[in-house]
């Protein structure tokens, strides 16, 4: 992925704000929110027409599930990539359903050999159908599986090595997991193959009952911006993307947040 700088996830609720960002060079759209048939949203077509890269971001493939990834879901993601002329697509190291039940959110997989094999098999199934590279995003988890055989960094690195996939590093997830586990977030940054990062996510969250939840409904906290600076001092990623999924602030506040991200990363502002 070439150097895109700072971007923000496209959502219908902030379509006008995104369209009004003069320096925007890339955005992301939730693949499952795009229609299976019929035209793409006009706002996305206009962004493409002015040369903004649009990355489809899948949330329901369940690549980390014990079951083979559903062909129809992969086909939709592949079609989104083709229709948007996307440079790459992304999905999660997670599962979202099991035993016929939908969890409704991204759940962590056990860091075991068996789970690694299932994930690698599903990533390869998806890659075989995708027209562009796939980046994988480790998730925020409120709990851990009891019997980890691999460290988080080793598990992620091995998946990337075995599949050739890129890394979508969510720096807010790194922060949330470290905080909820009582660990140092920079320890994971030191152990990950940062040269494999295609782009970075960040977002704000909320605290409930002593745990930090990555809700995407609040401004990116200063501690996460500090971690962006820590990351960029080690290896500056090609692109950084703010995710906001609710609690929409006034445009000026969102613009100031994008500026703060650009400043923390040492890249030009896009507002």
């Amino acid at each position: 992925m070439s150097r895109y700088g700072v971007g923000i996830g496209w959502r219908p609720q902030i379509s006008g704000f995104v369209a009004g960002l003069p320096g925007l060079r890339f955005t992301e759209v939730v693949a499952e929110s795009l229609p299976r048939r019929g035209p793409l949203p006009a706002a996305l077509r206009e962004l493409r027409a002015r040369g903004v890269a649009v990355v489809p971001h899948g949330v329901k493939l369940s690549l980390g599930g014990a079951w083979p990834v559903e062909a129809g879901r992969v086909a939709h993601l592949a079609r989104c990539a083709s229709r948007l002329g996307a440079p790459l697509v992304s999905e999660h190291i997670a599962f979202v359903r099991a035993g016929g039940l939908e969890a409704g959110h991204l759940l962590p997989v056990p860091r075991s050999r068996e789970a690694l094999d299932a994930l690698v098999a599903n990533v390869r199934r998806a890659q075989a159908e995708l027209p562009v590279p796939l980046a994988l995003e480790p998730v925020a988890a409120l709990f851990d599986w009891p019997d980890s055989q691999l460290s988080e960094a080793d598990f992620i690195t091995e998946v990337l090595d075995l599949t050739g996939a890129l890394l979508l590093l969510d720096i807010a997830n790194v922060y949330a997991n470290a905080r909820n586990r009582g660990e140092e977030p920079t320890a994971l940054l030191d152990a990950l193959p940062l040269e494999r990062v295609a782009y970075v996510h960040m977002a704000g969250g909320a605290e409930h009952d002593g745990l930090y939840h990555d809700t995407h409904t609040a401004p990116t906290p200063p501690a996460v911006l500090d971690l962006v600076a820590e990351l960029c001092s080690r290896h500056r990623p090609p692109a950084l993307l703010l995710e906001r999924d609710g609690g929409w602030p006034p445009a000026a506040e969102l613009a100031a947040e994008l500026d703060a991200i650009a400043a923390a990363a040492g890249v030009p502002a896009i507002t």
């Binding site: 079951w67 099991a98 039940l101 056990p110 068996e114 709990f143």
Partner: protein, 154 residues
């Protein structure tokens, strides 16, 4: 079923159906995850059923999560639909929520069991005393029938 499949299935059942926490997991953390899933679901259903959520404001999240706890997610459209019908049957669907429900009934055929299927032709949707006529994508409120009560629709 593989060991991984069985363990993932047990974990999801514990999180969304109130199943017993699988061995070895921190039960407090799983409770926190269940609560977080319910809050997220409440937000998604509110986005799909804004008038239903508004009719229960400021208690929407509490009312929805109490209803949804232990009930596997069926997606925001069906979750909101099932809750609205239950409130209607109990005579407690208020505000503009009956009109929202009636409009949905005119757009889709939903038996409460299988996923809703779109209605292709003009249709009347009812929610208790409220009835709407949908022609194409336009909705017309029909006059209230005399003596009509909150009756189950669908």
């Amino acid at each position: 079923m593989s060991d991984l499949a069985a363990r993932q299935a047990a974990l999801v059942a514990a999180l969304v159906c109130g199943g017993a926490p699988p061995a070895g997991f921190d039960p407090d953390r799983l409770r926190a995850a269940t609560a977080a899933l319910l809050r997220k679901r409440a937000g998604e259903v509110a986005a799909t059923w804004p008038l239903l959520a508004a009719s229960l404001t400021p208690h929407w999240t509490a009312r929805f999560t109490a209803w949804a706890a232990g009930r596997p997610p069926a997606g925001p459209l069906r979750d909101g639909w099932d809750l609205a019908r239950q409130l209607l049957a109990a005579g407690s669907l208020t505000g503009a929520a009956p009109e929202e429900l009636a409009a949905r009934e005119s757009w889709w055929r939903y038996d409460g069991v299988r996923p809703p299927r779109p209605r292709r032709w003009p249709a009347i949707g009812r929610a208790g005393p409220v009835a709407v006529l949908r022609l194409g994508d336009r909705i017309f409120r029909l006059p209230r029938r005399r003596g009509s009560r909150n009756t189950k629709t669908g």
